[in-house]
């Protein structure tokens, strides 16, 4: 199979586009994990909810040319609003508590959102069709490649740049980075860290919602889809480095390419390989490929 350069090129594109898709989804998790130090099990549920909200909105806008994109923005806003309510009502009372309690809180969200979806959208498999004009393929010279997946690559890079710019170049971004380093110090400077945590949680959830909406056309919406995606997000967060956006980008690419080329090389053991890689990264570089070791402790 290696003699066929076109196939290799397409598999590479498959890997890259899957990687970008995974990055859009996992970037929200990394942002929340990095700043709030909360391991958000509910991230997969937000992703799923984003897909279902998109399904409803697409139905509501009944496929006007911009209908899909309005639905994507709508899903992001909806998830952001939900996150805002959850944070204000419940999550912020847990920040001073042990990490375990925040983690179990997100696990309770998984259970509740799962039933919310079942009640709201029923239990049958739902499908969002591609936005108009993007259900075909584009000629890349070497071969044709689905236009929607190419667009996902672009959006993924944009999200990456957007987040990178926000975190590194804006004042708010600097506060977010500071909050990540040392919460007490910031509070002593009179900065309302609570509000930073709120907006990081809202932003991370909104991105997850957007990720769900963008992924909806290419996957089937069904109960239980949140469980699979959350494990992949954790793998990406670990390989890339807990809380490092660059790490999430790199981790997503690695997972995407592994999925694409694993098929060619070792289809049998791909499922074992992923977890083995997770173990090895944790043993060799616990803070991940691009993460920074926290305290200079031994």
């Amino acid at each position: 199979m290696f003699d066929n350069p076109v196939l290799l090129f397409i598999q590479l594109m498959n890997g890259l586009s899957l990687g970008m898709n995974l990055f859009i989804i996992s970037s929200g998790l990394t942002l929340i994990l990095g700043v709030l130090r909360v391991l958000n099990f509910a991230h997969g549920a937000f992703f799923m909810l984003g897909g279902y909200v998109c399904f409803t909105l697409v139905g509501a806008f009944d496929m006007s040319p911009m209908g899909f994109w309005l639905a994507v923005i709508g899903s992001a806003l909806a998830l952001g609003a939900l996150a805002w309510i959850i944070e204000r009502l419940m999550l912020r009372h847990l920040y001073h508590r042990d990490h375990l309690y925040q983690l179990l809180f997100t696990y309770a969200l998984v259970l509740l959102i799962g039933d919310l979806v079942k009640v709201g959208w029923g239990s049958s498999v739902l499908s969002v069709s591609f936005p108009p004009g993007l259900d075909g393929a584009t000629n890349l010279g070497v071969a044709y490649y689905p236009s929607y997946r190419l667009l996902l690559c672009v959006i993924g890079v944009l999200v990456g740049l957007g987040l990178w710019y926000f975190v590194n170049r804006t004042r708010a971004g600097r506060l977010v980075r500071a909050a990540r380093q040392d919460r007490e110090m910031l509070e002593s400077l009179g900065i309302n860290v609570g509000r930073i945590y709120l907006w990081v949680f809202v932003a991370g959830s909104a991105i997850a919602g957007m990720g769900g909406a963008l992924a909806a056309p290419a996957i089937a919406l069904a109960p239980g889809m949140d469980a699979e995606i959350v494990v992949e997000c954790f793998i990406i967060a670990i390989i890339g480095g807990l809380g490092s956006l660059g790490g999430a980008f790199l981790g997503s690419l690695i997972l995407g390419l592994l999925n694409a080329f694993g098929v060619l090389l070792i289809p049998e053991f791909e499922i074992v390989l992923i977890y083995l890689m997770m173990v090895l990264v944790l043993l060799i570089r616990p803070w991940g490929l691009l993460g920074k070791p926290e305290a200079g402790y031994r």
Binding site: R37, L39, M90, H93, L94, R97, H99, L100, Y101, L104, F105, Y107, A108, L109, V110, L111, L112, G114, D115, K118, V119, A227, V231, F234, I238, L242, E268, F269, I271, V272, I274, Y275, L276, M278, V279, L282, L283, P286, W287
Partner: protein, 306 residues
Amino acid sequence: MNKSITGTALLVLLLALVPLAGSRYLIYLVTEIQIFALFALSFNLLLGYGGLISFGHAAWFSIGAYASAILLTTLGWPFLLAFPAAVAVTALAAALIGYFCVKLTEIYFSMLTLAFGQLVWAIAFKWVSVTGGDTGFIGVAVPEFLDSPVRFFYFSLCVVLLCATVLWVIVRSAYGMTLVATRENRNRAEFIGVNVRRVQLVAFTLAGTFAGVAGALFTVFNHSVFVETAWWSTSAEVMIMSILGGVGSFVGPVIGAAVLIFLDRTVTEYTQYWPSVMGVILLAVLFFMPTGIAGFLNRRRGGTRR
């Protein structure tokens, strides 16, 4: 001190009478509670006493389960040899993997245990010839003397009580106190000459061993092993049992296991939305009863030392 001994004795006596109540449902229910109570007790050795949050405790439960299934059925060993051997295999695995896990701390430790737990699931899923893969290891050769619900109930009761007693002795031993010290202040523990990693490795191995016992019991109870028990949601379940019951007290996880299994069996009869019920209960515990049921009861009685 003797107040709690008589309390325990009373409870054990009552448990022993359960099979005489004539309801097989109750026998199955209490047997399952015993097994998961032991599983939760083993988990709490790590969390409650050692302060270590493991996301992969289901790995030992399922290794113990598969090991006993394979030894009993595929290799046809006699039960009295296969059962302890399965536990030994689990202990070895826990020590080996624990050696790596205790090198890390905090969230990295949790993530590594999650990774190893999922690795165990992936191997069990793929190694179809040995573990039965996604269909599971069906039809375990259970010895004659264990092949009736009542007889197995008593066997399981004895094993669980024995293990619980050993755990009870360990947590109150010199080692137990040292383990608590490593949780309270790792730095200071290091500075009284304690090799903290070795203390944690012993706790990790002990917890894995007792989880392996619970897994082996579960195999005999179900006459089969399912790959789903190795998935991370089982590790989350045992964590919720401990938190619900109260990690601060020895008996907390037992109560948590009893309440969770009982709800698991009964709530689904009335509603298909049992996940929401569990979610609400979990939220209630997190916000209003952070020390769990046992902690809540203890505090109401003046809060003795655990």
